[in-house]
């Protein structure tokens, strides 16, 4: 990659212009600043077995996978029973589900489709992510809970920190002589290295002073959301990835497991936010890079598909179901047709929750959905 792309591919802190003037990543934004936690369900979550229809066509297409015991929502739709804790939040009118979300000319490659969702560009491959561009415009900060920086948060100048677990973020063999020497060695190194060291050094000092966050489950989803809890409210935008949704085989058990763990983690996360008084200013968004095909395959699973539901959780959302549930009879070669472009959801979040002009972040975009009350 050329030098410019090299610089842009790293997390935040800008290129050369911001070296040495590192913005303090861990100082809190304003006390009424809305917070956004974006959760990527990695692998392509099967929407049909998440928000479950009651049509006969569903049971015909999925002789072994069709769920008959869904938790009731409305209009003949139900929720996968493994999602009971999330259903409980739904019943408290804290959950909005947007059905049939996708984009034209759907791509069924995990990487390309995730890239499309994360850059909000179905055609090109811009260097920045949509959350990164929002942070650049709003001059807010972002946190990615992961070992690598998620594409959504690739920003031109905004400070973004990627961290796996805060407790582990320390020098295991503390030695001021060594640390001082490393700071000197890295100061004059190529920008990617110099900048990474600077942010690392700064973050180690501050992450060593974070509060604990007990009560979260020890699952992958639980641990990731726990890290978000520990870091809140120091940044405005958080991105978390939960894996396990690529259910080509044995979907019944695998999807149930991953949704059960995620739902429990979300519920515990929400309770913790309420205890800390942060719930009123936090919205969660759950997305996946695509849904899955209508017919089950020969391995008790489903293959890569197209449209799927997006979830929003929070006090400010217009609770309930929106977006037309994809038709099971009018298919596109066995795949669902989307009715909502995912950028309408993004625009709805940008304008309705983050209070920013969607066009400044997304460029021209399909109409924003009224997602917030």
């Amino acid at each position: 990659m050329d030098r410019r792309s090299f610089l842009l591919s790293m997390a935040g802190a800008g290129g050369l212009a911001l070296l040495g003037q590192w913005d303090d990543v861990l100082a809190a934004p304003g006390r009424t600043t809305p917070l956004l936690v974006v959760v990527h369900l990695a692998g392509g979550n099967d929407g049909l077995n998440t928000i479950v229809p009651s049509d006969r066509a569903y049971r015909t297409a999925r002789p072994t996978l069709a769920l008959g015991d869904a938790l009731p929502l409305r209009s003949g739709l139900g929720m996968n029973p493994a999602m009971a804790p999330l259903h409980a939040l739904y019943q408290r009118r804290l959950v909005a589900v947007v059905n049939g979300v996708g984009y034209d000319h759907p791509n069924r490659s995990h990487f390309r489709s995730a890239e499309i969702w994360q850059t909000a560009d179905p055609v090109g491959a811009p260097p920045y992510g949509w959350l990164g561009r929002y942070l650049d415009v709003s001059r807010q900060r972002g946190v990615c809970v992961d070992a690598t920086l998620n594409r959504s948060l690739w920003a031109k100048g905004a400070p973004v920190l990627s961290v796996d677990t805060p407790e582990a973020f320390r020098f295991t063999h503390p030695d001021p002589v060594v640390e001082s020497a490393l700071s000197d060695l890295y100061r004059d190194s190529p920008p990617h290295l110099a900048d990474t060291w600077h942010r690392l050094d700064d973050a180690v000092k501050r992450l060593g002073r974070l509060p604990k966050a007990d009560g979260m489950p020890g699952t992958d989803a639980g641990k990731a959301l726990r890290t978000v809890l520990q870091l809140m409210p120091t940044a405005q935008v958080y991105h978390v990835t939960v894996s396990g949704f690529d259910t080509h085989i044995d979907q019944r058990n695998r999807q149930a497991k991953v949704w059960q763990e995620l739902s429990e983690a979300l519920s515990a996360f929400w309770s913790a936010l309420e205890a800390r008084g942060l719930a009123v200013r936090t919205t969660l968004m759950l997305y996946s890079e695509f849904g899955r095909r209508v017919e089950e395959n020969a391995s008790g699973g489903t293959d890569h598909g197209t449209a799927g539901p997006v979830f929003l959780v929070g006090h400010g959302v217009r609770a309930g179901l929106s977006g037309a549930y994809p038709s099971l009879s009018d298919l596109d070669e066995g795949d669902l047709r989307h009715s909502v472009d995912f950028r309408s959801v993004y625009a709805g979040v940008l304008e309705g929750w983050l209070g920013t002009r969607a066009r400044d972040v997304l460029g021209p975009h399909p109409p924003a959905l009224p997602l917030f009350a």
Binding site: M1, D2, F6, S9, M10, A11, N107, R108, S109, H110, F111, R112, A147, T148, L149, L161, S162, V163, D164, A168, F169, F171, T172, H173, D175, V177, V178, A181, L182, D184, L185, Y186, D188, S189, P190, H192, L193, A194, T196, W197, R199, L200, A203, V204, H248, I249, E295, N297, A298, S299, D303, H304, E333
Partner: protein
């Protein structure tokens, strides 16, 4: 005229780094001769793998078996007299991705690893064919479940998207047709060989990438292996793997042309690549965690501490046999971020905890300059910036009251954690 900097760049790109004496020989005998030597290896399979991995497939995996497999291969990379061959094994491992987690059989993964070693610089079509019927791959990508009634498109898509052409060079219809052509293969018997069942194979006519015929697996392998997009993609990935940087477009053309002209001879591609100007100019790419650790193991004369080193290597982002996804690893600057750089610093400190007597005596000199120069030379870091050497000399001086062992510990930590050691 081969400089020490050229030599270091060559050995870090084409191998896992080298110590001062090897670098000196490269300077003396020249770049081209060294490249020829690096490309020479006999058919020997390497050291014996641990017996724990020689269990029949289908037996559930244990942590001990995974660790043994990882440790064995890391030691192979650290001790082999044919490091370029091992780098190619690592390249193919990241290109034709499988992972312990869905496969659950160290025996199958080991066999695939040996296949990569056997074909390390052979013809691409041969290695693709071996991989397409390799049991570990069939299990990982659910090819095993590819039966006529519901051809599983997963394997077909990954073959074209990831192993050969890349996105944009095939259609969804090609995916479905290739899936049909790949039907009929299952894992058979206790030794886990792939077996073809004609009655489960769809032998109808398929249309694949502009070709028409009653294609089976070998036919599809040939079609995709000889597609021009494959030449460009595979050679481009190889350049990025070796340097951590993207090939300039002229170089990408040149390498693709070599691939096509030699019918996918990876040895020829390697020679062309390593002798080219683009490689010599492709400096300061980020080294991968495995390259970093194996180099450290080589220069510190360490063996892999299996179990203890598994997690540190994993959090650095690259545990062999456990790639994060079917895409393998993304070489280049993505290796270094706030989390992984901290991991390298901490691992450097850990590796330096008990330096062996030879390294301690290297720093036990009368002057800072002699000590630091000697140490950097031994570590194969003879081309560091003057400011780096000067800073290390300051640390040497400050550490004198605490004795040579502590001095060695600090200097080694700094060397392995330095910006220079992260780059090729």
């Amino acid at each position: 005229m081969t400089t020490i900097s050229d030599a270091i760049h060559l050995w870090r790109g084409a191998a896992f780094g080298a110590q001062g004496d090897v670098l000196q020989r490269t300077v003396a005998q020249g770049y081209e001769t060294t490249v020829s030597e690096l490309l020479q290896w006999d058919a020997a399979p390497g050291t014996e793998p641990p017996p724990a991995t020689l269990v029949p497939p289908g037996i559930a995996l244990t942590l001990v078996q995974v660790a043994a497999l990882v440790g064995w291969w890391m030691n192979e990379m650290a001790t082999t007299p044919h490091p370029l061959r091992e780098k190619m094994v690592l390249f193919w491992h990241g290109h034709f991705t499988t992972s312990v987690v869905p496969v659950f059989s160290p025996g199958l993964l080991l066999r695939q690893n040996q296949t990569f070693r056997q074909h390390a610089a052979g013809r691409f079509e041969d290695i693709l064919l071996a991989v397409a019927t390799d049991p570990a791959m069939l299990v990982y990508l659910d090819g095993r479940e590819n039966r006529k009634a519901h051809p599983n498109e997963n394997f077909a898509r990954e073959v074209m998207e990831l192993f050969t052409l890349g996105i944009g060079h095939y259609t969804e219809r090609d995916v479905k047709e290739v899936a049909r052509a790949l039907t009929g293969w299952k894992l058979g018997g206790l030794d886990g060989h792939a077996v073809f069942h004609p009655e489960l194979h769809d032998d109808g006519v398929k249309h694949v990438l502009g070709h028409v015929g009653r294609f089976g697996l070998e036919d599809v392998v040939h079609i995709v292996a000889t597609h021009p997009a494959t030449a460009r993609r595979v050679t481009g990935r190889l350049f990025r793997f070796l340097t951590g940087l993207d090939a300039p477009s002229q170089e990408a053309d040149r390498l693709a042309a070599t691939f096509t002209r030699t019918h996918g001879d990876m040895g020829a591609v390697l020679r062309t690549l390593l002798l080219g100007d683009a490689f010599r100019r492709a400096r300061h790419g980020c080294r991968s965690p495995i390259e970093w650790l194996v180099n450290a193991m080589r220069v510190l004369d360490l063996r892999f501490e299996w179990l203890a080193w598994i997690d540190p290597l994993r959090v650095m982002g690259q545990l062999p046999f456990l790639p994060p996804s079917v895409k393998g690893w993304d070489d280049g600057p993505a290796w270094i971020n706030t989390a992984t750089l901290l991991d390298r610093v901490n691992f450097a400190a850990r590796l330096s905890e008990r330096p062996h007597a030879g390294l301690v005596s290297l720093v036990d000199q009368t002057t800072a300059r002699t000590a630091v120069r000697g140490l950097l030379w031994a570590l194969g870091m003879g081309d560091v910036r003057p400011a780096t050497a000067a800073r290390l000399e300051q640390v040497w001086t400050a550490s004198q009251p605490e004795g040579p062992a502590r001095t060695a510990q600090r200097l080694l930590t700094l060397a392995l954690a330095s910006p220079e050691f992260q780059m090729k």
